[in-house]
């Protein structure tokens, strides 16, 4: 079926509508995590709050995620600058780093569990699992988008089209967003134990 091609050229703003829609979606995800962290503060101030150290593995996973953002960004630069090999390899590397992040998060959860911080029990632990778990779900979404990117990179002929560029930019911006979101959550969880 044909889709109406909406004209974007005559509008004064240069932002692509889909990119703008993504930013709006990011604003509402920010509100969602804002609600989680506010609930955390409200509940914490009510007392009966178990304090515990964050596992060190969360800091390792943070580095991995930051690197993946960097590699994905470089992959995008390579894509638009006609560097096919570098684009493809860095895209795969970013995808694998994303998977690594999830594995590290899982290891972080198991190490917490091993010192007795359970999902059930004191809400301080429950909050940590729910917040990091919801973030991990958002990472999965980003990985799904990246996987589509990888499939397209290896099944279709390399060609810089407007459509592929926009889709890549959307994936990239979303990935930067979940990356920054994690940095915020980590700092929040670290400071407000």
């Amino acid at each position: 079926m044909a889709i109406i091609t909406t004209p974007y050229e005559h509008t004064s703003s240069k932002i692509h509508p889909l990119k703008f829609a993504l930013w709006i979606a990011m604003a509402s995800m920010t509100m969602m995590f804002g609600a989680f962290t506010s609930a955390y503060i409200v509940r914490q101030s009510a007392g009966n709050w178990l304090e515990f150290e964050l596992p060190n593995i969360f800091f390792v996973s943070t580095v991995v995620l930051l690197v993946s953002s960097l590699t994905l960004h470089t992959a995008y630069r390579s894509f638009v600058n006609n560097m096919e090999i570098r684009y493809k390899s860095l895209l795969v590397v970013s995808f694998l780093l994303g998977i690594t992040f999830l594995i590290l998060q899982y290891l972080g959860w198991t190490s917490l569990f091993s010192v007795g911080i359970d999902l059930k029990g004191n809400p301080s632990g429950s909050f940590l699992y729910v917040i990091t778990g919801m973030h991990a779900l958002h990472i999965v979404g980003g990985l799904a988008a990246m996987l589509v990117g990888v499939l397209i990179a290896f099944t279709r002929k390399y060609k810089i089209t407007q459509r592929r560029k926009i889709n890549f930019e959307l994936t990239l911006q979303y990935w930067h967003f979940v990356d920054l979101l994690w940095v915020y959550l980590l700092i929040f969880l670290y400071l407000s134990r």
């Binding site: 079926m1 044909a2 889709i3 109406i4 091609t5 909406t6 004209p7 974007y8 050229e9 005559h10 509008t11 703003s13 932002i15 509508p17 889909l18 703008f20 829609a21 709006i24 979606a25 604003a27 509402s28 995800m29 509100m31 969602m32 995590f33 804002g34 609600a35 989680f36 609930a39 409200v42 509940r43 009510a46 009966n48 999902l119 059930k120 029990g121 004191n122 809400p123 429950s126 909050f127 729910v130 919801m134």
Partner: protein, 617 residues
């Protein structure tokens, strides 16, 4: 004297319009020909608007019918309702000796809960803003369609799915969720708390999570379309107030619904994963539960952080529609256009910092309550600005008292009556007496329930020709209006008195309380009024569906003589709205009665005098 220039609209659009290389049936478009893709999985915003509207009407009938059943219980608790047995099955218990059928008390709570959920979310959120945002945003802005027609289609289908899940929950053997539409824990968090808290609540959560997805997809689209796809010349300050209202509504929805989702996720964790976010020290059937350290107030904070903006998500689109209808049908420019926009923005901002006024009696620190009291009362200021401007728009107007106009004026009446009682309830001290009584029920039903319905009716009667190419029957429309207006006041006005006397809401029957015996007749009166109003709505639905095919045909493109762009499209507009070029906009949306002309469409270029005047400013 201004020279008299006659414009032909088609010629004007052809000459001045923006050519975006649009061809209605380009590259062998099968899209319009197949029934499934034209009417069911449609990506045309006009069809999606109709889908939202008709689904909304379906839910409105169910929600209203539920209210009739529980009103029968409240008005006539001793009458037999055995005749409802075929519909309600085992929820009506028939006494074997006397043959008297009574409503199951658990099911009474389920009815109240479902009535609230359905009307608030499915009718007044999806049915109202879903319908008119979809219909009017592209049409009034001069866009071919939404920014992403595909996401727009998904938005409807997520709503549809949410509806299916909720509908299914009505038929569970344990009944639908019965803990109130606000879903406070522990009733919502413990599956064993009541019969509706099990599977019924699970389906409620699934349904509303799907609904949040639908709202977010729709809202993203509305905001993007308004900011990116306006036609040439359509600056923000030339947009009709309808668009301003839908735009701000979408922003509120996008910022508040995710918070509700967060609250739901924590609730789901409490229900399914054994966490204790909202639960602490609970005994069920004499058994102590394991949950420790949670706080039910936390859920209230998260819920009302959505819940209060939600009432503005409901009322702002109605306000936008009413502003437009009043101006068009009074043949006058809207009074104080910019003040209207700023008051919408002010209301939107304030809506985020007043949520705790729903929790004055829930153990919130009284000193903190003071801030919420002040911000709540400040909302009266922009609201009063709007009311003043509506009335001054009517002042000296050439008023056509047709159905859309009647409903728009009715909206203003209801908004004033209902808004004034908000000042009582916004005071935390008076709330000690009034909280959880029928006074609250009366307040929010008038100011947001009935008023928003009136906004919706005004919009339906006004844009029905745009949607279906025919007019609704005027006589039936007027009967519908008068029955509904008088009936709605007859239902909710007495409730204020009942509430001031302290009669609590959500009670199954009152004959156990001597003090409330005096209200028996009043409750009977309310129930009878409710039945009459319900009959009037059935009349509306009949009129609606009958008029689609049999109504008076629309002969000209612009039957109301309105200035906005939706009336420059062909009567049967295809996907893409304008067959050739998109019109260019030269002026704001409210040039009525200017320079001796009845109205000047937005696409008419400025005259020399107007240009000179514009330079002057």
């Amino acid at each position: 004297m201004a020279e008299v220039t006659k414009y032909n609209e088609e010629v004007l659009i052809e000459e001045q319009g923006f050519d975006d290389q649009f061809h209605e049936h380009h590259h062998g478009d099968k899209y319009q020909s197949s029934f499934i893709f034209k009417y069911i999985f449609s990506m045309d915003h006009k069809i999606i608007a109709r889908q939202f509207l008709i689904t909304g009407i379906f839910w409105a009938l169910i929600g209203a019918a539920m209210s009739i059943i529980f009103r029968l219980q409240l008005g006539f608790p001793d009458e037999s309702i055995a005749w409802l047995k075929p519909f309600l099955g085992r929820w009506v218990q028939i006494n074997a000796e006397t043959g008297i059928g009574t409503l199951d008390s658990q099911f009474y709570y389920a009815l109240v809960t479902m009535h609230g959920t359905i009307i608030v979310f499915f009718v007044l959120t999806a049915g109202l803003s879903g319908t008119f945002s979809n219909l009017l945003i592209p049409l009034q802005l001069g866009a071919r369609d939404m920014a992403s027609p595909f996401l727009n289609m998904l938005s409807y289908w997520f709503f549809f799915l949410a509806g299916i899940v909720m509908f299914y929950s009505l038929f569970l053997s344990t009944g639908p969720f019965s803990g109130g539409w606000t879903a406070y824990p522990p009733l919502s968090a413990l599956p064993q708390a009541s019969s509706g808290s099990g599977a019924g609540m699970t389906l409620w959560l699934v349904s509303l999570t799907l609904f949040v997805v639908s709202v977010l997809l729709g809202g993203m689209n509305y905001i993007t379309t308004v900011l990116n796809l306006r036609t040439r010349g359509m600056s923000l300050w030339r947009m009709p107030l309808t668009i301003w209202a839908f735009f701000v509504t979408a922003i509120i929805a996008l910022l508040s619904f995710p918070v509700l989702a967060s609250g739901f996720f924590l609730l789901i964790a409490d229900r399914g994963l054994g966490t204790s976010f909202y639960l602490s020290d609970i005994f069920v059937a004499g058994q102590a539960l394991e949950y420790v350290g949670g706080s039910p107030i936390l859920f209230q904070h998260l819920f009302w952080f959505l819940g209060h903006p939600e009432v503005y998500i409901i009322i702002l689109p109605a306000m936008g529609i009413v502003s437009e209808v009043l101006s068009v049908q009074a043949r006058k420019p809207i009074f104080g256009y910019k003040a209207m926009v700023y008051s919408i923005l002010a209301i939107a901002f304030l809506s985020f910092i007043v949520w705790a006024h729903h929790m004055f009696m829930a153990g919130v620190n009284p000193f903190i309550s003071n801030f919420f009291v002040i911000f709540t009362l400040i909302i009266a200021v922009p609201s009063a600005v709007k009311v003043f401007n509506w009335i001054t728009t009517l002042w000296g107007g050439n008023i056509r008292l047709n159905s859309p106009m009647l409903f728009a004026i009715g909206f203003v009446s209801l908004f004033i009556s209902g808004g004034l009682t908000g000042i009582f309830l916004g005071n935390s001290a008076i709330d000690i007496q009034l909280h959880d009584t029928y006074f609250v029920v009366a307040h929010f039903h008038i100011v947001m329930g009935v008023a928003a319905m009136f906004g919706m009716f005004a919009g339906i009667y006004h844009w029905f020709p745009k949607m279906f190419g025919t007019f609704m029957n005027e006589t039936l429309g007027k009967i519908h209006f008068w029955l509904t207006l008088i009936g709605a006041y007859a239902i909710f006005w007495p409730m204020h008195y009942i509430g001031m006397a302290g009669v609590p809401r959500r009670y199954y029957r009152f004959d156990g309380f001597d003090a409330f015996g005096q209200f028996t007749v009043m409750n009977e009166f309310i129930t009878i009024a409710a039945i009459i109003v319900f009959a009037a709505q059935v009349l509306f639905v009949v009129n609606f569906f009958w008029s689609i095919n049999n109504g008076k045909k629309m002969k000209t493109k612009n039957p109301w003589g309105a200035t906005t762009l939706e009336w420059t499209t062909p009567i049967e507009a295809g996907h893409g709205n304008w067959p050739g070029k998109i019109p260019t906009v030269h002026r704001w949306a409210y040039d009525y009665g200017k320079d001796g002309k009845d109205f000047i469409s937005q696409i008419i270029p400025l005259s020399e005098e107007e240009k000179a005047e514009e330079q002057h400013h």
